[in-house]
Symmetry: C2
């Protein structure tokens, strides 16, 4: 309710006069459009070789402007994680979306309203109870809601297990009572914990095999399965064969982040997102520099803590976006970041004075982005802010 008004003002706002990074209020979110475009081009080239389409997940960006850089066309296709995202992107002209979180029956009225506006919004489910609710809502509305059946390719979250054909067919048949069976979908979330190129390739193949086998089982039972959808940023950058797959869903690839660098699917200098911060203090005897970006600006995602290199709350860069060697935000309070050299490393504390500015690369682009209301867009090492792109949040 509260956010209805927000959406109306979230249009592209080019910066009126020349704004520099030095002029921005801190903390704020900075997007390097050059890195973003390189990341998108890299994955597009990869998927073209594999002969499969891209359905970007817009939960990472929550921004119409960024979405237009990653989608095939302004009308999609796209993936969303909330109905708020679906409504927001529908208002911006996106017409082909998968809502890739298991549907709650109470949300079907909103799904039907968006479909009535001409949006091909597809829901996801993995139980007969959900399928019956979707079929029933479809019958009542006289409008078949399309649904994908979620497949649990690696046991990390939700979905029907590969090989559980009984459950798969029971769900498909329940959908048949008024809804539309659109296909199958999986997400190899377990790939985030994979280590090494071989393990990643195996995750990608497990993801492919799990969802393709489910599609085969449906077709063998005489049921339709036009969509065979999979994806995660690590597997999309590791798969060598996507036979039988119709589309790849990926979100974080557009910005990348330290978790992805730790997995090895990007380099630290591919990361397009950073938080601009100002030095507000020192504790020189401890080797600490205090900045005004704490966990509110960085998020509390500590995804690299489980990786080989713990990046704390983020890697500290100069204003041009180049990382200082081994300099991290080691600890954080709500609005304070404590910058130190990584314990045990060879890094030196740079000479940063009160008022100097740094940029901090995030552990997890989705989480850090969500703490901010807009992107300040720069290009490469330039400190000219070319535009401010709004982003939305909430549900």
């Amino acid at each position: 309710m509260i956010d209805a008004l927000t959406e109306k003002r979230e249009t592209l706002k080019p910066t009126a006069t020349t704004t520099m990074l030095q002029d921005l209020e801190t903390p704020c979110l900075v997007l390097d459009a050059e890195r973003m475009e390189r990341n998108v081009a890299r994955l597009r080239a990869r998927l073209a070789t594999l002969g499969v389409g891209l359905r970007p997940h817009l939960k990472t960006c929550k921004s119409v402007e960024v979405a237009r850089h990653v989608m095939d066309s302004p009308s999609g296709p796209a993936t969303v994680s909330t109905l708020k995202e679906a409504a927001h992107f529908a208002a911006a002209g996106v017409r082909d979306m998968i809502y890739a979180v298991g549907i709650a029956p109470g949300k079907l009225a909103q799904v039907l309203a968006l479909r009535a506006e001409g949006v091909d919004l597809v829901v996801l489910l993995d139980t007969v109870a959900q399928a019956e609710a979707v079929a029933s809502a479809s019958r009542e509305a006289g409008m078949p809601i399309p649904a994908l059946i979620e497949i649990d390719c690696d046991g990390h979250r939700s979905g029907v297990r590969p090989g559980d054909t009984e459950s798969l067919l029971a769900i498909a048949r329940a959908l048949g009572q008024g809804a539309e069976l659109r296909g199958v979908l999986t997400h190899a979330g377990g790939s985030y914990a994979a280590r090494g190129a071989d393990a990643l390739r195996q995750c990608a193949e497990d993801e492919r095999r799990g969802v393709v086998e489910a599609a085969t089982a449906l077709r063998a039972a005489g049921l339709p399965c036009p969509v065979v959808s999979l994806g995660s940023t690590p597997t999309a950058h590791s798969a060598t064969d996507l036979t039988g797959v119709t589309e790849v869903r990926v979100g974080v690839f557009v910005f990348f982040d330290l978790v992805m660098a730790g997995i090895g699917v990007c380099r630290v200098d591919d990361i397009a997102l950073s938080v601009l911060a100002t030095v507000i203090g020192h504790q020189r005897d401890k080797g600490w520099i205090l900045i005004d970006a704490g966990w509110m600006a960085m998020s509390q995602d500590r995804g690299t803590a489980k990786q080989a290199v713990n990046q704390g709350y983020g890697v500290v860069c100069d204003l041009a976006g180049q990382a200082y060697p081994d300099l991290i935000v080691a600890d954080a309070n709500q609005e304070h970041g404590i910058v130190t050299v990584r314990p045990g490393s060879e890094g030196m504390l740079p000479d940063l004075a009160i008022g100097d500015r740094v940029r901090v690369l995030p552990n997890h682009a989705c989480a850090t982005g969500a703490q901010h209301r807009s992107y300040h867009v720069v290009r490469g090492a330039s400190d000219v802010v070319e535009a401010e792109w709004p982003r939305f949040g909430g549900w």
Copy 2:
């Protein structure tokens, strides 16, 4: 820039028709006003006995309505953690605020603008460089900016060490060149890691002694020190003597949270904030219930992971706000929460069907609140939503 419009629409919005918790879109934030009022009354009674004033920290609520429940009067006093909060609460009539994060020189223009509007906004600092910048900006504006010197009572973050009288006086004298020395401030952030009543009382006494000694040193040098400010929710609930202190700053006490319950300064059923969520799936062989509140709705704060009882991403309650025994959100993705019985506990998985609703208590009220745009206000076990109170975010 983007949020200038947001502020205008953030006024009290009573729910027009009777709304029930069952009617709300999920996930969303629920505030039990009965618990909130009990928490505020408890601390007020405590501070009255100790003979010291309350300057609530509004970074926890970021809401004008909640602020009015915790402040002495609609004009304050209050504490804020960002200039966005200062501007927002100033627009709502708050006239007496401390911005309790070390000042960056680039923010002084905004401070002066708020002061010119009649807001007694006080800045915080702990270096001569900041004091010189504040004095210089004061001289240029012909308006002395009042400043507090931060004292580092427990080594956890920023501030001048107690006993470092040389630094303290150097900062005070730099302020004397045009600014106003208002006093000293400390925050016993280390108390979050204290275990047991004795340790908490010791933290409270260390906090008091550190800041009072600094005030004494300033006065001994013939300098003014009208304000002697301290506070953290654990120490405010543990202090037995606040001699020499003029005010206590506390934020999370208004809602409490699982970290505070783990420290022992509240009970789980004092926690006034929860996230309403809907059941969207089961993995019955694993004992998992999936809900539509993931880390985006709960935040990624895992503050209880270091405590005796790890509450995962939150404790799961029924719709009336009563906790199911040992039921927690054990893991989370962006929009998925995985609910399980706490490993090793005696709890039983409740019989929750697709579409059923639960409420999840947060680890950290400040972090979870920040993920949402409004509070849905209920009272005790009632499921009637009495009001929707907006909250703001960003910088």
